[in-house]
């Protein structure tokens, strides 16, 4: 039989809360250490224990990180999804199944490897058999695919850092799985793992942890947060790193952490911190941003630096709380009532999560306005390969803050909202300074900050705010362009779609279609985006939602002659984007457009 090396997808079906996540991470880590390009997607439920969970491991020498378009190896442990999982397999797929699950194996057209997982687990320790069952299948996969024992043991040690009993127990269980396969079954499938040379050492990290590190290197001084999936691990990442990164020898920190009573309060605290002259932030998800809308408008109108990270999950309403989507784009860009416009930073890689983590504070203080980081569950909570983080290449920018009396006195005229430099960005003084003491307000105000309902004051203020935020466009992260020569079709995409775009591109290319790519990394849009559209006959805006929110923003802001060049391909089912689905939709759209 011809072998298939490093190009297949394993789907592991278990129940939540059974310890399967540790087993899956050990599998992923050991493959990673062997130099195999691999990605893991945790498809977990909103539940502590009992509901179905799937973990998808994709091995791909091409470096594809999206979940594959089909399952090649199915690991079956969960009776609740057994029949459905089995039915969805293509003929010839491999099934590793728990013989003790009291479920039928009713497919004849698959390669079947029955393993008495529960019985083997009970041999080790009947009391924790349920937890050990998971590591048994990792042992089976190791034997079946040829995963190094050494790498497996290193991954176990990493997973259970310093816990000798747990390490020993798991290594024994791995051995039992391995031995059972060796002694009782013989390999009858083409799938193998081959070691690859690691050219540049990498590590795995979740986007949320990368943002957390970025924020701490950005000098965050206050984190106010309310727990919500999938953002909690971002806030907890900051909390976990404060002792190491932001605490002095006496144990006193330079970053305050307040667990707020709700998202409204968290947003209020962020504004309070910005008003007082500090770098405040919160981490939340769509439902939290919904609750923060009123404060977001205040931050925009009163011009208060404030940073909000949104780890997007599936909406509307409670939606699918543990699934991924890019559906908060419009809400962030035009958040709150009235005319508003906000800066949104959109990382597509863990390196950018770190970079935008610190940059968000600089932009927020430079433009004196709320700044959003838009991540999503896929980028935030799954593990991604990273070569390392780069130290900030710019000094902290605290913006136009007048701290000294002499500087203040040198102003011919001072007004909190006076546009001295013509860039729409006024100067501010801080509470406690005694300089230009004003009552900040969410009501209409004149350039001095005094209450005003005069038509001219309101009109000029709104025009200046527009000028200020529009002025940020080309100062924000520029789009990443990958252009083909004389290519007629462009694709605009954003965020975590970065991890699927190459595979989409390859599928299109296999049908003879070449496309250029433009990854938008910030709102308001950089002028490079418009230039990209101008250079192409047709541009598809690709996004993970139903309505084409980025497409809507482009349509609103582009000149008329470019609008007709745009097409929307928007699709979302909660699962991280699979290349096949989007490629098919793009091909259909191109067909409609006669290109």
């Amino acid at each position: 039989m011809e072998t298939i090396a490093n190009d297949f997808t394993i789907n592991i079906a278990t129940a939540n809360g059974t310890g399967s996540q540790s087993a899956n991470l050990i599998l992923l880590q050991s493959l990673f250490e062997m130099g195999v390009p691999v990605s893991g997607k945790n498809m977990f439920p909103s539940n502590i224990s009992g509901l179905p969970t799937w973990y998808i491991v994709r091995l791909s020498d091409n470096g594809y990180q999206a979940p594959g378009n089909r399952t090649h190896i199915q690991v079956l442990l969960n009776p609740a999804t057994w029949d459905e999982d089995l039915a969805s397999l293509e003929p010839g797929s491999v099934v590793i199944w728990n013989e003790n699950a009291k479920m039928e194996m009713n497919r004849e057209d698959v390669v079947s490897y029955p393993i008495p997982m529960s019985a083997l687990a009970r041999k080790i320790n009947p009391k924790i058999a349920k937890l050990v069952t998971n590591i048994i299948y990792v042992g089976v996969l190791a034997e079946l695919l040829g995963i190094d024992q050494e790498e497996l043991e290193a991954a176990v040690a990493k997973q259970f850092k310093g816990k000798a009993t747990a390490i020993e127990l798991n290594i024994t269980a791995l051995g039992l799985g391995r031995d059972y396969f060796k002694d009782n079954l013989s390999k009858n499938d083409p799938y193998v793992v081959e070691k690859r040379v690691i050219e540049k050492p990498q590590f795995f990290i979740e986007g949320n942890e990368a943002v957390a590190l970025g924020c701490l290197f950005g000098g965050v001084q206050m984190l106010a947060w309310y727990p919500i999936t999938p953002s909690s691990s971002l806030a907890e990442g900051i909390i976990n790193y404060i002792p190491q990164l932001r605490t002095d020898d006496d144990g006193n920190a330079t970053c305050a952490v307040i667990q707020a009573e709700d998202e409204l309060a968290a947003a209020g605290m962020v504004l309070g911190a910005g008003w007082a002259g500090g770098r405040g932030m919160t981490a939340t998800s769509g439902p939290g941003i919904s609750l923060m809308q009123e404060f977001i408008g205040l931050g925009y109108f009163a011009e208060i630096p404030s940073v909000f990270w949104d780890v997007n999950r599936v909406g509307p309403s409670t939606g699918l709380p543990t699934r991924t989507q890019q559906s908060d784009i419009s809400m962030l860009y035009e958040g709150s009532h009235g005319d508003t416009q906000h800066i949104v930073l959109i990382p597509g890689t863990v390196e950018e999560c770190f970079e935008f983590g610190w940059k968000a504070f600089d932009y927020s203080e430079r433009y004196q306005t709320p700044v959003f980081g838009l991540s999503d569950l896929d980028l935030g909570m799954n593990r991604w390969a990273c070569e390392g983080f780069e130290y900030p290449d710019q000094a902290m920018d605290r913006g136009k803050v007048v701290r000294e009396r002499e500087v203040f006195e040198a102003f011919e005229e001072f007004g909190r909202y006076l546009d001295v430099d013509g860039d729409g960005i006024p100067y501010r003084t801080l509470p406690g300074s005694g300089m230009d003491p004003i009552l900040y307000r969410g009501t209409g105000h004149n350039p001095k900050g005094v209450y005003s309902e005069k038509p001219d004051d309101y009109f000029e203020l709104m025009q200046r705010l527009k000028r200020k935020i529009d002025g940020a466009r080309d100062d924000l992260p520029a789009p990443i362009l990958r252009e083909e020569d004389e290519c007629e079709i462009g694709i605009i995409y954003l965020g975590s779609m970065e991890n699927t775009i190459q595979e989409i591109d390859d599928i299109l290319e296999a049908t003879g279609i070449k496309v250029s790519q433009c990854r938008v990394r910030a709102l308001p849009l950089h002028s490079g985006v418009e230039d990209f559209i101008r250079r192409h006959e047709m541009t598809i805006v690709l996004e993970i939602n139903r309505d084409g929110q980025m497409y809507g923003i482009l349509r609103k802001e582009l000149p008329n002659d470019l609008i007709t060049k745009l097409r929307s391909v928007a699709y979302s089912d909660g699962v991280p984007p699979r290349a096949g689905i989007y490629a098919k939709l793009i091909l259909e759209t191109l067909k409609e457009g006669d290109i």
Binding site: P201, I205, L213, L216, F217, G218, G219, Q221, M222, A224, L245, R246, D248, G251, N252, A253, T254, C255, A256, V257, I258, A260, E261, D262, L264, A265, A266, G268, M269, V270, L271, G272, A273, G274, W275, A276, G277, G278, R279, G280, E294, F295, L298, G388, F389, P392, A395, R398, L430, P431, G432, S433, G434, P437, I438, L439, Y440, R441, G442, T443
Partner: protein
Amino acid sequence: MSDKPARAIKLNVLNEPKDSYTGGKSSLCPGCGHDQISNVIISAAWENGIEPHRVAKMSGIGCSSKTPAYYLGQSHGFNTVHGRMPSVTTGAYAINKDLLYIGVSGDGDSASIGIGQLIHAIRRNMDMVYIVENNGVYGLTKGQYSATADIGSKKKKGEPNKTQPIDLCALAINLGCTFVARSFSGSKKQLGSLLKAAMSHKGFALIDVISPCVTFNNNDESMRSYGYVKENEITLHMTDYIPHFNPVEEIEVPEGHFRDIELHDGSTIRLETISAEHDPGSAVAALTALHEAEASQKHVTGLLYFDNTKPSLAEDLGLVDTPLVDVPNEVLRPNRETLDKINAALHS
């Protein structure tokens, strides 16, 4: 030119005239209780020798929340959103714990839309003075009952209130608030002493001030009218404030029984017994006084409850001594070697 000698301007301990503590002209209705409170805030800050620029004036939305424009014109302030002043104050406090935060709120702000934020600010024992200018009605929206309206009380228009009121003092005491007082905008001396004591307190100080609304709720059938409150006020004790810069020996000791409570900055609040002695260290006594007053349709005023044993939020946050706003950038951003270490640890 007048040949009359200029009258000596009275100065406080910082050599500041009272003018340094005033604000803009009020746009509230003439006679509004809130304006009286603003005047007491001005006097208290002046008499206490507070540096005006070290005060942060915080408020929400409503008639009361407009008043920070009318006092302490040398202080920065923030007129935030409805009911959310506590959270904004919390964030500012985390960044600059050394300012004196004076929050002004109304009964709509504090007992309805913002009650959750008030509760959690009390739980955290954040250092601030929180004044509720409590008149039982929404003024800016023209006279709807608020959640503190007393049962049986009738405002100028409409039916008497039938819904159980929320007593913010009782609520605060049950939450372990460390300084709880009630006063009346017409009692300038009592309110002044309580306010100065609140400014000297470390922790959350709530002063619920009955402050009649002359436009919508000052009729005879209202239990929050000037007339009704004057007739039905039960004063727990006479209050005197002795600032730390004014040694106690110089103060005339009253005849009869009194109790001195030392405050965080070394100042003292002296409570002189009127009839029965009230123990502000007893939550039970305070709640009893509140319940008895409510049962007899009276308003009890004075320092209801005081506790100086709890850590304030600043202590709980575990921060460096320097207010975070003054921590330099190079301390806030870890150095390059630290990131190298992080990268190395992630690689291992």
